[in-house]
């Protein structure tokens, strides 16, 4: 604490972050949480309609998180440790599922794997039950493994090769090294991955809505309470239940962590390469990644084909008419806004997340734990509530001069801050404090030390925050539904409109355009970043 008071800029920065968190995470949600009032809560809880969705939600979270993290870990391991080929390709495919604007991608799954799906029926003659729990499980596993993959790959890429070499040296076989050295040392990343993935799955609305059928989970229940009943208080009560679950997950993660040291970057540099992975394993990884990529590409491929045909699969005449209005009028504005909002939100969110992560992980001041939770909490708030919260909180006459676009950007920044924040904290746990101290010893204030030393070394975590925020900002519907205005409309709103218009051709064409632009933007960012920041970009 004394350290803070001795460095006023640091204290100011900390207060600034706290103020931002209070203004843009806590305050908008307070309205939502207190909306029902104790009577409303009592009535809702007694009504008991939340019991089945709660049970369903827990089921879904348990199943989907397990498989998504498993898949993410395998993918991360394959990317960071093995020397399999085509890594840039796999890196892109590994992010693709995150680029999933609402409705259309889930619809593509049904198209391929539904009761008359092209693959399931057309090729295998099966009519599986894709709707309900099974479908949700499958789609969520694919949709969310990229979170786990990003977080784990980030941590693995900073693993200390010397420890693994040492273990090999002592006679451990590759599997033993993995089990006793690699795995335990990747615990910060693993913990962060599990927590983040679980909370996002808990909050997932789009997939259960499309594929769940009557299998209701808490977010879909909240949505239908608003959409079907106009019952805001009931929906707010559901949102609070979700928050409580997120708190429980967070506390569980704390217990698991145990606060041990996972330092792998100690400022004692080593050029030691990793022990080689057996070629058999490399090939197995390659095959696995290829299969997974094939699946993902099939889904997006169906999308592209839909966009270029009149009515896939019944009418497969090639056409470009679906694209006719992609760039016109409000649609063009929407695409532009989407990319601009997404980029700004991603940049600010990533940096803020890193800075906040540093303040919490390296800091020593009262209330640290509370801030830690607050920075993870947004992940548990369903998008609609985040949006409603912002709408109510900032719909003040004295704020009317603020461009609504900024409100949307702010909502994206803070709704997505948990991922970058988790990545930063996990990364910081790997970096020895002696690096901080060396900088201090040479005359750097704590803030300066953060800027000059930790920030560059954590480039990988920054990238995780940036990419996931960008991708989610570009594909979220629930948050923006309540915040957009005609000049600040975004792609997802347009897609929603087209879908409701039964204009599936137009919707898929727009989705394809949206995803293509997002990928192009990501490639540009990757190219720009390559110039600076050496570490962390090279691997994984």
């Amino acid at each position: 604490m004394r350290g803070l008071t001795r460095e006023p800029p640091l204290l100011l920065a900390l207060l600034g972050v706290v103020a931002l968190v209070l203004a843009f995470i806590v305050y908008p949600q307070v309205q939502v949480v207190i909306a029902p009032g104790s009577d409303g809560y009592a009535a809702f809880l007694q009504g008991g309609t939340w019991v089945t969705p709660l049970r369903n939600s827990l089921q879904v979270v348990a199943l989907s998180t397990t498989t998504a993290v498993l898949l993410g870990f395998l993918y991360a391991y394959a990317m960071v440790y093995t020397d399999m080929r085509w890594k840039p390709f796999f890196r892109l495919v590994g992010i693709l599922p995150l680029l999933s604007p609402p409705f259309v991608v889930a619809a593509a799954y049904i198209l391929l794997f539904g009761p008359r799906g092209i693959v399931t029926y057309g090729i295998f003659g099966q009519t599986p039950i894709i709707f309900g729990l099974m479908g949700i499980w499958g789609v969520q596993t694919i949709a969310f493994f990229p979170f786990a993959y990003q977080l784990i790959a980030d941590v693995l890429s900073r693993s200390d090769a010397r420890m693994e070499q040492a273990a090999r040296n002592l006679g451990a076989g590759p599997w033993q090294v993995f089990r006793t050295v690699t795995l335990p040392l990747s615990r910060p990343g693993l913990g962060a991955a599990i927590l983040t993935t679980a909370i996002y799955i808990l909050e997932d609305f789009g997939n259960p809505q499309l594929i769940g059928g009557v299998f209701t989970v808490l977010p879909t229940q909240a949505y239908s309470l608003i959409s079907g009943f106009g019952d805001f208080t009931g929906a707010a009560a559901v949102s609070t239940i979700l928050l409580a679950l997120a708190l429980a997950l967070y506390l569980a993660k704390l217990r698991l962590d145990g606060g041990r040291s996972f330092v792998t970057i100690s400022g004692r540099a080593s050029s030691m390469p990793r022990p080689p992975v057996p070629p058999g394993l490399s090939w197995a990884c390659f095959a696995g990644c290829l299969a997974l990529s094939g699946l993902i590409l099939m889904v997006y491929g169906a999308l592209v084909v839909s966009a270029f045909t009149i009515a896939f699969p019944t009418n497969i005449t090639f056409t470009t008419t679906n694209f006719q209005f992609v760039a016109t009028g409000s649609n063009g504005d929407a695409l532009r806004n989407t990319i601009v909002f997404g980029t700004v939100a991603a940049a600010v969110s990533a940096v803020l997340a890193l800075f906040a992560g540093w303040l919490v992980q390296r800091g020593d001041w009262p209330g640290r734990r509370a801030l830690d939770f607050l920075l993870i909490m947004p992940a548990a708030i369903p998008g609609i509530f985040f949006g409603i919260g912002y709408l109510t909180a900032f719909n003040q006459t004295w704020l009317d001069w603020v461009d609504r676009g900024w409100i949307i950007v702010l909502s994206m920044i803070f709704w997505n801050i948990p991922v970058g924040y988790q990545a930063a904290v996990a990364g910081l746990r790997q970096i020895d404090r002696s690096l901080d101290e060396a900088a201090t010893s040479l005359g750097a204030s704590k803030l300066r030390g953060f800027r000059d030393v930790l920030f560059p070394v954590l480039a990988g975590s920054l990238r995780v925050g940036f990419v996931t925020t960008f991708v989610r900002a570009v594909t979220t519907l629930s948050v923006v539904i309540f915040l957009f205005t005609p000049p600040t409309t975004v792609a997802t709103i347009r897609i929603y409109q087209l879908v409701n218009d039964l204009n599936w051709g137009g919707a898929t064409a727009f989705t394809v355009a949206d995803i293509s632009l997002a990928i192009a933007a990501l490639l540009v960012f990757a190219l720009l970043a390559r110039g600076r920041l050496v570490l962390g970009m090279a691997r994984g």
């Binding site: 009504g47 309609t49 089945t52 409705f103 619809a107 049904i110 198209l111 539904g114 009761p115 008359r116 799906g117 709707f131 259960p208 809505q209 499309l210 769940g212 059928g213 009557v214 209701t216 879909t220 949505y223 239908s224 608003i226 959409s227 079907g228 009943f229 106009g230 019952d231 805001f232 009149i310 009515a311 699969p313 019944t314 009418n315 009028g329 409603i388 709408l391 109510t392 719909n395 003040q396 006459t397 009317d400 539904i481 309540f482 957009f484 205005t485 005609p486 709103i493 929603y496 409109q497 087209l498 879908v499 409701n500 218009d501 039964l502 204009n503 599936w504 051709g505």
Partner: protein, 355 residues
């Protein structure tokens, strides 16, 4: 009173009032519309913010026509989800941004009206409309109907159900339909609930019989979907054979895929599409101008053309392929009762089908 009689009486009422209105308006003739519009335009200027739950393909042309007719500019916030728009308007009440709320079933407007968030206004043009289609306190006015129908995939229908289209909803209990139907989820969609409530009204508010019907129907339903359009899409793709859904949407899809068909079974439900002025509007004359205009024949015809919906005005022809109102048998739909008992009925349904 049996539902049949009610329906006839209802139609007669519409017919009579229309005739009266036509007679009343006949004196002034076609020139009445422009002069009314002209006198309105003289007062209304500027722009209005419209929160529209109408289809995307309807919005642009419809409101462009409005601006052309009245000179009032329209800034449209399009979101084909009346529930969300309702919530948004409610959340913005401290600093209202919308002038007009248009589209979506009247129950959404009614809810806002009861909370005092709407500006009552009885348009002169509303006098021709049946009382059921407008709010007595003037908070909202109905201007189109959406009739619930049945979509079927012709190919699979012929092959698997011998081409039998349902004449009544009870026809769907036929075991031939087992696991071949898809319908909007009553919990998640407005259309799904309207279907459920329709059954209740069909049996004269005998809930037990209605739930019994739903229970018997349940094994035939392969899937309850989260959005109504998705139901139509899946039938269109051939993933399912058929299902209850909005007839206007079915017609829209049919134009793209002739392989599906629309039937309207007897005693079906319907929604009343409404328009209302938001309280706190900054351009009341402009809002009124919109309400006036939307109730005109010109607007009605345009809406039919763009969305295949049915106008409240008898003098507006339905879309090609769509039935006229007297060709369909509508159930007596007690809208207020349906809204008040929604939660209870849904729970009952969930219990009945074992969900």
């Amino acid at each position: 009173m049996t539902p049949q009689l009610d329906r006839r009486a209802f139609l007669k009422l519409i017919g009579v009032t229309t005739v009266v209105a036509a007679c009343g308006g006949a004196a002034t003739g076609p020139s009445a519309a422009p002069s009314v519009a002209a006198s309105v335009a003289a007062k209304a200027t500027g722009r209005i913010n419209i929160y529209s739950a109408l289809n995307e393909s309807t919005n642009n042309e419809l409101f462009a026509a409005f601006t052309k007719a009245t000179g009032v500019g329209a800034d449209v916030l399009p979101l084909a989800a009346a529930g969300e728009l309702q919530t948004r308007i409610r959340a913005e009440k401290g600093n209202p941004k919308a002038d007009i709320f248009i589209g979506g079933d009247s129950s959404f407007h009614d809810g806002l009206g009861k909370e005092g968030l709407l500006e009552p206004f009885m348009s002169a043009n509303a006098s021709a409309i049946a009382t059921e289609a407008k709010d007595p306190s003037g908070n909202w006015t109905g201007w189109y109907f959406g009739v619930f129908g049945f979509v079927s995939n012709t190919d699979r229908l012929t092959k698997e159900v011998s081409g039998k289209k349902p004449k009544t909803w009870d026809d769907l209990l036929d075991p031939a339909w087992k696991q071949k139907l898809v319908m909007p989820d009553p919990v998640k969609t407005g259309g799904g609930y309207i279907f459920l409530a329709t059954q209740v009204f069909r049996f004269g508010k005998d809930e037990d019989r209605a739930m019994d019907f739903m229970k018997k129907l349940h094994p035939n339903i392969a899937q309850y979907v989260g959005t109504a359009p998705q139901g139509i899409q899946l039938v269109s793709q051939g993933q399912f054979v058929g299902g209850p859904n909005w007839s206007h949407d079915i017609l829209t899809e049919k134009a793209k895929n002739p392989g599906i068909d629309l039937t309207i079974p007897d005693l079906t439900g319907f929604e009343i599409g409404a328009v209302s002025i938001v309280k706190g509007t900054k351009n009341l004359p402009g809002g009124k101008a919109l309400v006036d205009w939307i109730l005109t024949k010109e607007a009605g015809e345009l809406n039919v053309k763009l969305s295949n919906r049915v106008s409240v005005r008898k003098d507006v022809a339905p879309a090609p392929g769509a039935p006229t109102l007297d060709q369909v048998k509508l159930v007596t739909y007690d809208r207020a009762w349906a809204a008040d008992n929604k939660e209870r009925l849904i729970k009952k349904w969930q219990q009945a089908v074992g969900l």
